[in-house]
């Protein structure tokens, strides 16, 4: 064989950083915003967009963790209950003692991390399917949260977490902090998943956990990390939730949030079968869901219509995923 000089490599190092689904989502969001801007002139004002972005933040943030979990082939249906536990612990701490912002966030994140660790250990080392485990822990967390609530509601929460809130204190240059932090974390995780060996291993596990193990991937540790990350992000998202509310926290906090989060992940193009997905898609998915919800409100339509639209988006997204898988198999 003759040795030839290596020709200048013209190939790209990686496939496109943005998937087709993400481009479609950006298009759909742009069309919706344009339509809403035309039909309700108030839509494209700071007074309307800022609440939209604030409301998107907690779902998108937990969605980042959920995306990693679903990429590994798992799911976490306990995040709603976990939000409740974290927010009631944090809210009671705020009411009971004079902690500052950083300590409050730390407490919430530690609580969320502990809950994520419980899920992660049971799933990674218990070898029981994630939906069963997290369905179980969701009920445990719910019980735990209600115990901490004690009687009814937590009242008189001080404005310590206002930095994440809807008010003036929660914005810099007009951009809500909660949204900004979520965007930064999404970008960091996106980079991690795309450019590091550890990040790529999540995809390998979702593709074929056994083959990944044989290739030298520490599967259990990765799976544990996925649920731990989700828990930590749940902790931070809980601070956003408290900040967005009034000075009162009631027992319905976090209720149903797991479905909103999973919806954002699925609409964002992450395959529910595992092995494929993107936190950027999830971020856009959360933004789309929130756009629909606030659009329906601003147009004065009945709020159930928002459920209808989200349902359609989910079915279209899952359908596209299945068609793609089928087209591949028939090859």
């Amino acid at each position: 064989m003759t040795i030839t000089a290596t020709p200048p490599a013209k190939i790209k190092n990686l496939p496109s950083p943005v998937t087709g689904q993400e481009i479609v989502l950006i298009g759909v969001i742009a069309v919706l915003w344009a339509a809403l801007a035309v039909s309700t002139p108030a839509f494209l004002t700071a007074g309307s967009l800022q609440p939209l972005l604030v409301a998107t933040a907690p779902v998108a943030l937990v969605g980042v963790g959920m995306t990693i979990v679903i990429i590994t082939g798992g799911i976490d249906v306990s995040v709603g209950a976990a939000i409740m536990v974290c927010s009631v612990i944090t809210a009671k701490t705020l009411v009971g003692s004079d902690v500052n912002l950083a300590v409050a966030v730390l407490i919430s994140v530690l609580a969320g991390g502990a809950l994520g660790l419980i899920n992660g250990f049971l799933i990674a080392y218990g070898r029981v399917h994630a939906i069963i485990i997290t369905f179980g822990t969701a009920n445990l967390f719910m019980f735990l949260g209600l115990q901490i609530f004690g009687s009814g509601t937590v009242n008189g929460i001080p404005g310590t977490l206002g930095f994440f809130g809807r008010g003036e204190a929660g914005r810099t240059l007009g951009i809500p902090h909660a949204f900004l932090i979520t965007a930064l974390i999404t970008a960091a995780v996106w980079w991690y998943l795309r450019h590091t060996a550890g990040g790529r291993h999540f995809f390998a596990i979702g593709g074929d956990a056994q083959a990944a193990r044989l290739a030298g991937v520490r599967v259990q540790r990765r799976v544990l990390l996925a649920y731990l990350t989700t828990g930590v992000l749940v902790g931070l998202a809980s601070c956003f939730v408290i900040a967005q509310g009034t000075s009162t926290l009631d027992q319905s906090v976090g209720s149903g949030k797991e479905l909103a989060v999973i919806a954002a992940v699925v609409i964002g193009g992450t395959s529910i079968m595992g092995g494929r997905g993107s936190v950027l898609g999830t971020f856009l998915g959360a933004l789309l869901v929130q756009t629909v919800a606030s659009g329906v409100t601003q147009l004065g339509w009945r709020s159930q219509l928002s459920d209808l639209f989200v349902g359609i988006f989910i079915i279209v997204a899952v359908g596209a995923d299945l068609l793609r898988a089928r087209a591949r198999r028939s090859r």
């Binding site: 064989m1 490599a9 990686l14 790529r200 030298g216």
Partner: protein, 501 residues
């Protein structure tokens, strides 16, 4: 000869391995020279896979010696084997469909630069490998799931070679490939051997060995029978070495009743799978369809049961031309199927034995066609348990708690509820112990005696000879020769493996 004086790359001497009481291999020898293709052949269960597992480090030999370039080595794990330069490509590509080719090749051993994956260096290395295999450089960043099966296999080979392999084990690489794809594979193998890599090539298709192998080692009953330069043998001679002495199998002679044709395939074709298949099964007759993996036998069975649809030719059931649309339709036409992969296709693991027997026949067992008649379900189940000699404490036993042989009998029992006109059995005794095998064979014969036309699809040669009244050989997607029950194993094998010159 010059090759004799050269120190072999890999030599296994007097290797043996036991699994419990079973001697998987005993006293086996294998010598692989640098830059050569060494074929390893033998019937199912002859010990080929144990042999390559020992070489690949997935199993450790109980006794025997392994030499690498003339010096003794110990291969205690897959890591040891990889460190020596032994790489294995298993039959099914073990790849991650959503990752790129480069990522698949470097998974678990990524090249890193400042904490992040060094894509550029990885890709350069991958492009070199792809060039060696004759694949376009652009494939380095293609998603594996978007490639064809043949290309995926080449990626598996590239992955195996990425660790600087000196011995490459290919386990039945051609079984899932089309003829054109096999040509590409052979090209790759030739290119590798030209660069000094040794290839251990395992295949059931004997004819292709003559085009690719330099030497062949034949295994039978866990022993290596011998190693020969490929030019010294013919397909028939290899087949003869594989099956050994003709066993005087005391097969009870059976009078085949002369009945009408119940299943008749005339020129049956499914594009890309099989073509021009002719088979007739008469009432009360047992016909075996014998072919190697990939020959199209299982697809033919799937067409008779409506799992797949034929694209040409005719299929007649009880004299009437039919084309089963789906399994439910096939059942109404009187065709029953015992699937090969019973864990996946055949049983409801958590459910009771009675449920497993009555599933699919609930209309028959129901009052007014609506409510399941539990008493009758139980009665039918008990009757069949007795007839089939299924060993179980009671009919409510979950099927997953039963042994393979007993579970198979239960799945067989389900098909007996309606006494089908035509029964198709796919690999009926795969993974079943010897005793249960006998009983299943007896049951099949009994069924035929009651008038069912039985078609047994099998790759188990002794089984085909034991139970069938006629054996139809399938090769390359079409029926070739027909044999009687007195045929010799060697003739059947030669006919199925090609080149019956």
């Amino acid at each position: 000869m010059a090759a004799e004086t050269q120190i072999p790359r890999l030599r296994l001497t007097a290797v043996s391995k036991r699994f419990g009481a079973v001697r998987a291999i005993q006293h086996a020898d294998l010598t692989v020279r640098a830059g050569q293709v060494h074929a390893l052949v033998g019937e199912n269960g002859a010990g080929k896979s144990t042999m390559i597992k020992i070489v690949a480090g997935a199993e450790t030999a109980d006794t025997g010696e392994i030499e690498w370039d003339g010096s003794p080595v110990r291969i205690g794990s897959t890591t040891d084997a990889i460190a020596l330069g032994i790489a294995t490509v298993y039959q099914e590509p073990q790849l991650f469909p959503e990752l790129t080719v480069a990522e698949n090749i470097f998974l678990g051993k990524e090249l890193k630069k400042q904490g992040r994956v060094d894509w550029a260096t990885q890709n350069t290395r991958v492009v070199e490998l792809l060039e060696l295999l004759g694949l376009p450089a652009g494939y380095a960043t293609a998603t594996v799931g978007d490639l064809s099966i043949a290309e995926q296999q080449q990626v598996s080979i590239a992955k195996a070679l990425s660790g600087d392999a000196k011995v490459l084990i290919l386990d039945e690489p051609s079984a899932i490939l089309t003829d054109a794809e096999i040509e590409v594979l052979f090209d790759v193998v030739r290119r590798l051997t030209a660069s000094g890599v040794s290839v251990i090539y395992i295949s059931h298709r004997l004819d292709e060995l003559f085009r690719i192998a330099d030497e062949v080692t034949v295994m039978r009953d866990g022993r290596t029978i011998g190693t020969y330069p490929i030019g010294e043998l013919s397909v028939r001679q290899i087949a003869h070495l594989m099956v050994g002495e003709e066993l005087s199998d005391a097969r009870p002679h059976r009078e085949v009743p002369a009945g009408p044709a119940m299943l008749e395939l005339r020129g049956l074709t499914r594009t890309g799978k099989f073509a021009d298949v002719d088979v007739t099964v008469h009432q009360g007759e047992i016909v075996a369809l014998y072919g190697l993996v990939g020959s199209g036998v299982s697809e033919i069975a799937a067409c008779c049961y409506g799992i797949e649809r034929a694209t040409g030719g005719t299929l007649a059931i009880a004299g009437k031309p039919e084309n089963p649309r789906n399994p439910e339709h096939a059942q109404r036409l009187g065709v029953a199927l015992l699937p090969a992969n019973r864990k996946v296709e055949g049983m409801f693991g958590f459910q009771s034995l009675a449920f497993n027997i009555s599933a699919g026949h609930l209309r028959l067992l129901s009052k007014l066609g609506v409510f399941v008649d539990r008493a009758r379900e139980k009665a039918v189940a008990l009757d069949l348990i007795k007839r089939l000699a299924v060993r179980t404490p009671h009919e409510r036993q979950p099927i997953s708690a039963m042994s393979g042989g007993n579970a198979q009998k239960v799945v067989l029992a389900r098909q007996l509820v309606e006494r089908p006109k035509v029964l198709i059995l796919a690999e009926p005794t795969q993974g079943v112990d010897v005793g249960a095998k006998e009983e299943i064979h007896r049951l099949i014969t009994e069924l035929a005696e009651e008038g069912t036309a039985v078609l047994v699809v099998t790759s188990d040669l002794p089984e085909a000879l034991r139970i069938a009244d006629r054996i139809q050989v399938v090769r390359g997607g079409t029926t070739t020769e027909e044999f009687g029950p007195d045929a010799k194993q060697v003739d059947l094998l030669a006919a199925a493996a090609g080149g019956s010159e």
